[in-house]
Symmetry: C2
Subunit: 347 residues, 2 copies
């Protein structure tokens, strides 16, 4: 089906666009009362992830309510460890928790490379339902966690400030670490391909814990696998968002992907210089800027648009939208991007 609004896809490919496309990480869920109503009708977060009809509903909510230029499928990066044999729970106010974790090479024998169709069919179904209901209004973004970030959770079993247990594994069990990262990578490639086959128009790889690795380890234990993923996806544009990996920007220039996400610490001009003209950049307003007044949000958003310029940019925050942000403030951000970026091009 042809997309009625394909700004995001064209911007990702580096084509000329009439205005800068805009969406928000974590837009599906969290901030909308309409989302919370759906979420509260079920017993938990994971139940919602596994319910294709309702996942599709909350995926589309921000398109209707906020006016974003893309939907992102409502799901979680941790469906991959679950599909590999390591189920997780989502503990209210605490985050993910894994009853079993990987502690030694022997534990790998309990894992398998995920089969997208049989293990993750609920995500693929949610994509199909969403696509049908979106009816080509905007593109649908599929996603997965980067192998390093998934590895962190599979070793650590929960969030952590240092992920020192996961990082210790890289030093003490480098062979096992490589094996596990490769299994995650293989699972992720098949999963993203299945998302694309189900209808995803673009896919994003989230490396949420990129920023805790020293540069040499990042090359060896993260970029290596992200590179494999980028090389394996040919049908749609790929976005890589490696939060905190400022030191890896020069190497990102060489990734076989279309778009690089920037977090809010990364300088725009510097990032463009390091990453080069060959990529679209996505981001990167400080998520906390949406706590400001409407006029402050407008000013900050315009400044961001000025700094990125009119080519190869997708507007977004520099991280997921925070749960207590007023949706009206989000609308100011979105509206400002739409109007001001069109003005900039008309000049």
């Amino acid at each position: 089906m042809e997309l009625k609004n394909d700004l995001l896809i064209r911007a990702a490919k580096g084509e000329k666009v009439e205005r800068t496309p805009v969406w928000l990480m974590r837009q599906a869920g969290r901030i909308l009362p309409e989302y919370r109503a759906v979420r509260n009708s079920l017993s938990g977060f994971i139940e919602l992830v596994k319910n294709p009809e309702l996942a599709a509903e909350v995926t589309i909510q921000p398109v209707d309510i906020l006016g974003v230029d893309a939907a992102i499928i409502f799901s979680d990066i941790l469906v991959i460890p679950e599909a590999m044999g390591l189920p997780y729970e989502m503990v209210e106010k605490k985050g993910p928790w894994f009853p079993k974790t990987i502690n030694s090479p022997e534990d790998l024998s309990n894992l398998k490379v995920a089969d997208a169709e049989s293990d993750l069919g609920y995500v693929l179904d949610a994509i199909k339902v969403t696509k049908k209901e979106l009816d080509g209004r905007v593109p649908l973004i599929g996603f997965a966690g980067a192998p390093w970030t998934i590895f962190c959770y599979m070793i650590e079993g929960q969030g952590s400030k240092t992920f020192s247990k996961a990082r210790k594994m890289l030093y003490n069990e480098p062979v096992m670490s490589d094996q596990l990262l490769q299994m995650i990578t293989d699972s992720t490639i098949e999963y993203l391909r299945a998302q694309i086959a189900a209808g995803a128009n673009i896919v994003q790889v989230f490396d949420s814990w990129a920023g805790i690795l020293p540069s040499d380890h990042y090359q060896k234990f993260s970029m290596k696998y992200i590179t494999q993923i980028c090389d394996a996806i040919e049908e749609v544009p790929v976005t890589v968002f490696a939060k905190g990996a400022y030191f890896a920007r020069p190497e990102m220039r060489h990734l076989n992907c279309e778009t690089i996400g920037l977090d809010w610490n990364m300088g725009i001009a510097e990032s463009r210089r390091l990453i080069g003209e060959g990529k679209t950049l996505q981001g990167n307003l400080d998520p906390c800027a949406l706590y400001g007044s409407p006029s402050e949000i407008e000013t900050a958003t315009k400044k961001m648009l000025d700094d990125f310029g009119t080519s190869r940019h997708i507007a977004n925050l520099g991280h997921g939208v925070y749960p207590d942000i007023d949706p009206e403030k989000v609308k100011v951000f979105i509206q400002t991007v739409k109007e001001y970026s069109a003005q900039l091009r008309a000049q």
Copy 2:
């Protein structure tokens, strides 16, 4: 009293040294069984901080046991909010927790600028006891948190991945934020001066949450106050360690301090280029490298020393030592610095 080993002080000042001095952030406490024996004789962490005799004992332990080139007074950055009127508790396995926090401009009226002598006498006493017992063997490092990091805890009341409550305050209450940051700064300057008067030979400012601010906010709400602190301390060298503030390195060149701490993500050559030749650099081995085998630690430490070169470097980890690190591994790090850095100079 003259120092028998003044390598750290001379290295901080940019003087020639026979070998690179070495110490570890968080060396006082955490990893040593001898520390845990003292700690477990009391009811809690804060009781130890407030007991000058025992604080001195655990301050000196790493000098005797590990052979570091400096002692750092055993204390906590959160003694400042407590002295200003906001007491804290240390919750086992969870970290600091403040029963009262700052939520509005009105709350400032319950705070005061700390009086070092009357409110923080226990730290000054601990410094005096330590100095007496150290008997000039190595320098004693005093320290405080940077105003932004202290502000984070005073607003948020506990650790956080995003500190979005504290960061929201910068957007919504910039005047109050400045007032509170100034009160913390004034408290900190008096506190560091009192530490120096009590015997500290060098002081370090820890900006643990530097890395969550966008660059413009970092200038406005953190560097501004760190600059005041650096300008106010004249008697001894000052070290600034702003974890994650890679984007602020070009401005750190202009701080009126002797040493800049680098975290393990910051490239050594790049940092030297950005910060210039006028500062000593401190750091920055990945704390997780100490999970490796002795020969891996040796290799990583030598590489770090090669990269920093033989002038203006103080060896350290890129963050505090992790609690489950084997002290024997720490000794390998320290011994390698001592021997290899002397060899490098003999060549």
